[in-house]
Assembly symmetry: C2
Homo-oligomer: 132 residues x 2
DNA sequence: GGTTGACCTTCCGGTAACTGGAAGCCCCAT
DNA sequence: ATGGGGCTTCCAGTTACCGGAAGGTCAACC
């Protein structure tokens, strides 16, 4: 299979597939003409990677997960640990974003949004008091 | 004032201040010895930038906001527009992350996390059915 | 006066995970 | 043989910095 077919079947774009080869996530063979030659197994792995990335796992997490995926002797606790750590980081991000949202929502509500220059948003960002 | 003082007063690290000069966000003068020479106004701007960045505004947003900040003839609607767009993007990110969290939480709960290899997390990532 | 040590400078490289584009080969159909 | 699509490699750009190396500067201390 050529890269285009694999891209269509796995949902991972050709550029990304080449990148994944560069960083050693997959190792396709080469045809005589120099084209990458993929197997069904590569398609599976790429789809796996696509799903893992969609869940926000880093590439390094993906590397780990893929190794576990292929390891018959894995222990599910290993997988769970990776997922739990990732979950923690997602929750951290959510909290940070929610706190930003709270502040921004307040500021946007307070801002008249008209032709006048006075703006509570700028006032909040400013270290010096703008209008008393 | 030298960069170290400004960094302490504004809360923005020296490296970041130099970077902000590189990309034209601030324009300190130079002393005879080649050191950057900052004024109080630079401290204000940097603190402004620090707050804006902490609210998640991109550097380009910051550039816009700083220009509005310094523009006596700004209209608050301009500021509000930037903030509202940023708010939208934050809300998008939150939604994406929450959806990831939901999925991940389910998977983590389903995973036994013991010494056995069977793992619903891998099963979910896998395009082919793992166990039966 | 020399010598620390804390500053400051520039420049280079790296981060994460790709994406876009250029230059050029390959293959198939007309 | 020519055209179009697909494949290749390589280079550069993205975001917002951080770390480190090599080297100049300054104030203080002996």
């Amino acid at each position: 299979m050529n890269i285009g077919d694999v891209a269509r079947q796995s949902g991972v774009p050709p550029k990304t597939i080449r990148y994944y080869e560069d960083i050693g996530l997959i190792r396709p063979n080469r045809s005589e003409n120099g084209y990458r030659a993929f197997t069904e197994n590569h398609v599976h792995k790429l789809a796996f990677l696509g799903r893992a990335r969609a869940l926000g796992f880093t590439i390094e997490d993906c590397r780990t997960l893929l190794a576990l995926y292929e390891d018959e002797n894995r222990e599910s606790v290993q997988v769970k640990a990776v997922a739990e750590e990732h979950l923690r980081q997602i929750e951290e991000k959510i909290e940070k974003l929610q706190s930003m949202r709270t502040t921004l929502t307040e500021l946007v509500e307070k801002c008249a949004g008209d032709h006048r220059p006075d703006c509570p948003i700028l006032a909040d960002l400013s270290p010096i008091r703008m209008s008393e």
